[in-house]
């Protein structure tokens, strides 16, 4: 079965199987968009949590930390409730569109980016802040300094969030609906092939998924390497 899967994967890739390419491209742009928006929000909130004192901050940090382990089916369920025809945002008819998946994956990615950004900046050498202040840096400049000092952790957080979004199934299935040509992603396609009993085709899809996830991992390794060299 594994051998069949690998052979099928090769065939599907080499033939540019339209349905597979379609699902792969959708998986990519949906998770890229979700993570891009989540990164802007997450980095901002993380910075704020690390550098601003306000009541309830610890609780907020804790909430984001817990948010990292919310199962994707629960996020999917909550999004479903909101986007459903009978939900608060029902009139926008977003359910079973790619936008619904983007929204769900956004909520999956935000806690990851926020928590890691917060952690990285909170862990920064206090001298960074002092130095920046003594050099007369304004608030914005100081923020940029923190972010630049913590850029590696933030980069890793964004890549991790991407891996999570790219490989998640619960949200895409529940609010996307696995509609071919509209909302089918690599993970929902895999689930479908498995339920069909087409194990080797499912395996082929997973291999493609794995290949892209592997690429991201290599990029992560590459970046961590580059930074270590820069420090030494």
């Amino acid at each position: 079965m594994i051998i069949d899967g690998i052979r099928d994967a090769m065939q599907l890739l080499l033939q540019f199987d339209a349905t597979v390419i379609d699902a792969a491209v959708r998986s990519l742009w949906v998770s890229l968009l979700a993570v891009a928006v989540a990164s802007v929000v997450g980095v901002g909130v993380g910075l704020l949590l690390a550098r601003k004192q306000f009541p309830g901050r610890t609780i907020l940090v804790g909430m984001f930390r817990v948010g990292m382990s919310i199962p994707t089916v629960l996020i999917g369920l909550l999004c479903f409730g909101v986007l459903s025809r009978r939900g608060v945002l029902g009139e926008f008819e977003l359910l079973y569109t790619t936008w619904a998946i983007v929204i769900g994956e956004f909520f999956l990615a935000v806690p990851i980016v926020t928590t890691w950004t917060h952690g990285a900046i909170a862990r920064l050498d206090p001298r960074v802040a002092e130095t920046a202040r003594t050099l007369g840096a304004g608030r914005l400049q100081r923020s940029m300094t923190y972010l630049s000092e913590a850029r590696l952790s933030i980069m890793l957080a964004v890549l991790t969030a991407f891996s999570r979004c790219f490989t998640e199934l619960g949200i895409a299935m529940m609010v996307g609906g696995n509609i071919p040509g509209r909302t089918r992603t690599l993970t929902t396609a895999t689930a479908l092939e498995t339920s069909r009993g087409e194990f080797s085709r499912g395996m082929a899809m997973s291999l493609i998924l794995l290949l892209i996830a592997l690429l991201v991992t290599i990029v992560i390794v590459f970046f961590s390497r580059g930074d270590e060299e820069a420090i030494s």
């Binding site: 079965m1 594994i2 899967g5 459903s84 025809r85 359910l95 079973y96 299935m173 529940m174 609906g177 696995n178 509609i179 071919p180 509209r182 089918r184 929902t188 396609a189 479908l192 498995t194 339920s195 069909r196 009993g197 087409e198 194990f199 291999l207 794995l210 592997l214 991992t217 290599i218 390794v221 590459f222 390497r225 060299e229």
Partner: protein
């Protein structure tokens, strides 16, 4: 040396991944046991202690709709007590259920896809093929019924839906229900393609929810419909039509192909299903007053 590090890591990662896959592949030989362990049936039985020998476990592959109807929750304990065995129910789609029979990962297969069943027996994957019961599919749709499907038989209703290019949701997952839908479309003269024809690629429950949300027509089995329809704005439009009969049959997996198959227990199970007392149980099975199944073998003289 330092610059090559990422590449080495990449290769290591790839190797590790492939190893993992190989391991997964070895594990795949017994998906039956793995899947079944998550199913309620493995835990609810009191005869588990009695089922000490390996040959007193029946691996039954069936469809999710059969499980979801709740009928097996009634029947399986009776069989388990009679034969001092344990039944591991693997509830998957019809395609996957037949595949489990094909690979010898199930001893008996209880599904509802007549032509696929016949192909299964013809290919000698199954050795005994017994009709058990039937129920009906139905076509549901928006309450205002823009296609005017109400009152027609299924083929005519589908024709109207397609002609008016109304929204229709298809399972698209090779399930028994999807196969039935395809055979209905064949009788219309092939499924036309229109913009509002949507495939859900999911089970019946999620597909019904999707149809309800999208105000679409949908072909569904009655059991799933009865369980969920109270929440829906969707209404049933075509029901108990002769061309919507849904026959269930049980098959014994061919023991000549897979020596591990427990054919004697599987045969016992088939005998049990078509026995008069079980057939009565099936016929009298009700959920909230709704009848789910019509037994096929009640008229026959069966030995007990």
């Amino acid at each position: 040396m330092q610059r090559r590090f990422p590449i080495t890591t990449g290769i290591t990662a790839t190797t590790a991944t492939l190893l993992l896959l190989l391991l997964a592949g070895c594990g795949k030989r017994e998906p039956a046991a793995i899947t079944a362990s998550t199913d309620a049936h493995t835990t609810h039985t009191t005869s588990t202690e009695l089922a000490k020998e390996a040959n007193s476990v029946l691996r039954l592959a069936s469809t999710t709709s059969t499980r979801d109807s709740g009928l097996l929750d009634v029947l399986l304990p009776v069989f388990e007590n009679q034969h001092h065995c344990r039944v591991d129910l693997i509830a998957v789609g019809t395609g996957a259920a037949l595949k489990l029979g094909e690979t010898g990962d199930a001893d008996a297969v209880l599904v509802h896809a007549r032509s696929a069943e016949e192909a299964f027996v013809a290919a000698r994957h199954g050795v005994r093929h017994e009709p058990v019961m039937h129920n009906y599919f139905l076509i549901a749709g928006p309450a205002d019924d823009p296609a005017g499907a109400k009152g027609s038989d299924a083929v005519a209703a589908l024709n109207k839906i397609a002609a008016g290019k109304h929204r229709f949701i298809s399972r698209g997952d090779d399930s028994g229900t999807h196969k039935r839908e395809q055979s209905l479309w064949e009788r219309v003269g092939g499924r036309p393609v229109w913009g509002e024809l949507i495939e859900s690629g999911q089970g019946m429950g999620p597909t019904l929810i999707m149809a309800d949300e999208m105000k679409a027509y949908v072909l569904t089995d009655e059991a799933t419909w009865l369980k969920q329809s109270e929440r829906f704005q969707l209404v049933s439009l075509v029901r108990e039509a002769p061309d919507l009969q849904n026959p269930y049959a049980v098959m014994v997996v061919n023991p000549d192909r897979h020596p591990g198959v427990n054919a004697s227990l599987a045969n016992d199970f088939v005998d049990f299903l078509i026995s008069r007392s079980t057939q009565k149980l099936i016929d009298e099975y009700r959920v909230d007053g709704h009848r789910f199944f019509h037994a096929d073998r009640l008229a026959e003289e069966s030995s007990e």
